[in-house]
Amino acid sequence: MKKALAIILAVVMIITAVPMLLAGCGSESKKLVVGFDSEFPPYGYKDDNGEYTGFDLEVAEAVCKELGWELVKQPIDWNSKDMELNSGTIDCIWNGFTIQGREDDYTFSKPYVDNSQVVVVKKGSDIKSLGDLKGKVVAVQDDSSALEALTGEDATDANKKLCASFKELQKLADYNNALMNLDAGSVDAVCMDIGVASYNIKNNADKYTQLSDIISTEQYGIGFKKGNTELKDTVEGALDKVVESGKFTELAEKYELQDAVCLGK
Amino acid sequence: MNLLEIKNIKKSFGDLEVLKDISISVAEGEVVSILGPSGSGKSTLLRCATMLETMDSGSLIYCGENAATDVNGKSVYAPKKDLKRIQNYFGLVFQNFNLFPHYTVLKNITDAPVHVQKRDKEEVEKEAMALLKQMGIEDKFDYYPSQLSGGQQQRVAIARALAMNPKLLFFDEPTSALDPELTSEILRVLRDLAAEKMTMVIVTHEIEFARNVSDRVIFMDEGYIVEQGAPEKVIDNPDNDRVRAFLAKIK
């Protein structure tokens, strides 16, 4: 009995020790580990075959090909993104990552998408403009650009006033959850990135519609650990080549983001 | 030679002195009953004798071998190895049987002889069946304890103790967890054992039981032995007032 326990203990210790050792060495060929939210179409999501894909990931793939690196697609819990980046488990966040308001926390590449925050409501809803949101329940993704645009330090006075007119601003875990709430009627409107909105409206044209009023405009960039300009410059250089080759625009068209991208024009 | 010698045992729990200088010797083939009111220390005495409790001072000797020796008023126990051997000299039957619920009757009896005494399994099983027959419950060998009556469980417990081939058997209130009509079952078993010259020490509060089975009765009160002798003498014609008072209350 004692022996058995000793063996079990030893196994546990070895299993604990192995990854520590692995962490030390490894990575012979250069890898780029991209952290992304895999529930964020069209920038990063799972396709019908169960593979991770999306506009950002395909551009990252092209960039890695340019550099001769291997791309590792690492889905992460959005709430843990800072810990993941700082501890080095991912090299960058490349996932419709808004620059505005985060300039001090990350080293950003130059913007590649100009993204606006829009409002999605149920089709046939009586909400036609931002003014109609007064007294309504509005949902945003927690820790998202929409939330930043409405309540963040850099929010415009107009947006702060708009936010104050809501009955309630609900923070939800992800966009899908927010849209489920919209379906169920527990929220009246959802603020989100225009790209995500277009994707969901395209899939459910009979269910959702988008207000023509825009809450804010913002830009997407690739986020690196603060101070890691070396990696940033390398990736940016390769990105430029991908843009020059026309591959970037081709991918933007594939994901119907040609209106949003701000490179290659 | 005496099978058991207890000399000048003292035992306290905290400030409470439970045993105050008790000496008893038990000869081979003798049946000794220990009587006394609750709180008199008789159970503690039994627990000290069976080494379930360590005594503060005094010595404990089985078959001439020292389990504990009194050194300057402190009991010093023999090395573990010796105690293990000495342990084989005696068995104990508990008030509430303490059979192992997950073992069958037969396994309850044979497990310790086979795995502790390392005896041949077949031989032990044959012996166990003979013991069960002697107890009148040989048909219950594959039952679990929960399927038996209290009297049957106590008989299994006695068989379990006997299977270890002890020279001396202790009983701790063997009938007090049983219905009165079942007491006679156990009494019959004890008398059979006495007839076979089994040495026994029985802690009980049943006067009739003590009178019927024992050669000698020891009466304890407040940590002392107040009277001892033949059952007729101690039970029917005691010298001590306290014994008399206790017996009057019981009757």
Binding site: V33, N86, N176 | K84, A112, P145
Partner: protein, 248 residues
């Protein structure tokens, strides 16, 4: 044999619930391909969930026994340390513990982490957490064995380890089966918490499918998986419990 129809009813009911939701949300019953596609993708994630589940059981149950011994140690220091460990494991969210196990090597020792470590960290985190719960369950089981059984064993000459293995352990197992079953069922569902450190389990895949299809149904299919899994667990544990109860 009599039980078969009962099982069929449960499974049928479990299948019916998502089917009803499906019909409400306008997916026709003939869309079998869609359903099979979701099931196929989820079953890939099921392996990750099963791996985490299996390894957690494999390590936490013996580790729990060890913790239980330490908790019952005669040495006050060991007892206190164990008590503290158990109170932390039970008193803080499992998700936080997973984050600590995964990120602590970097934040405390500045060891850069490999991505493979996620799987190990998830297993370590779960095993440490569940060991604490199992330890307390075992302790209650050990303490439920009457003192008299220890004494009977001692008088019969059993050594300490013989007493534990032959007398105490089997009775402890019997006493602790119902709460252990509870913990195992909770564990099946808790595995989805591992995504806090980006361990991709079945529920994460269900959420991804849900986001990709802008459709809630994959979550219900995942629920069906969990239900069936737990149904099997309950069934197996019920059998074991019945066997252990035979001497009562």
């Amino acid at each position: 044999m009599k039980k078969r129809p009962v099982i069929a009813v449960f499974v049928f009911a479990a299948l019916l619930v998502p089917a009803l939701f499906a019909s409400c949300s306008g997916i026709s019953g003939s869309d079998v391909n869609w359903f099979m596609g979701v099931v196929y993708q989820l079953s890939n994630g099921m392996w990750a969930s099963l791996l985490l589940f299996g390894c957690t059981i494999l390590f936490s149950m013996p580790l729990g026994l060890l913790v239980c011994f330490a908790r019952r140690s005669r040495f006050k220091v060991i007892e206190l340390i164990t008590k503290f460990y158990i109170s932390i494991m039970r008193g803080t969210p499992l998700m936080l513990q997973l984050l600590v196990v995964y990120f602590a090597p970097y934040y405390i020792f500045k060891i850069s982490l490999s991505s493979e470590y996620r799987t190990y960290a998830a297993i370590i985190g779960f095993a440490l957490n569940y060991a604490a719960y199992f330890a307390e369950i075992y302790r209650s089981g050990i303490e439920a064995v009457p003192k008299g059984h220890h004494e009977a064993a001692k008088v019969l000459g059993y050594s300490k380890s013989q007493t534990f293995i032959k007398i105490v352990f089997p009775q402890m197992v019997r006493h602790t089966l119902p709460p252990v079953t509870n913990e195992i069922i909770t564990l099946v569902k808790d595995t989805s918490l591992a995504f806090a450190i980006a361990y991709i389990d079945m529920f994460k895949i269900a959420k991804e499918l849900s986001a990709q299809q802008s459709n809630i149904m994959p979550l219900f299919v995942a629920g069906l998986f969990y239900y069936i899994f737990n149904f099997v667990v309950s069934f197996v544990m019920g059998k074991i419990e019945k066997r252990a109860k035979r001497y009562e």
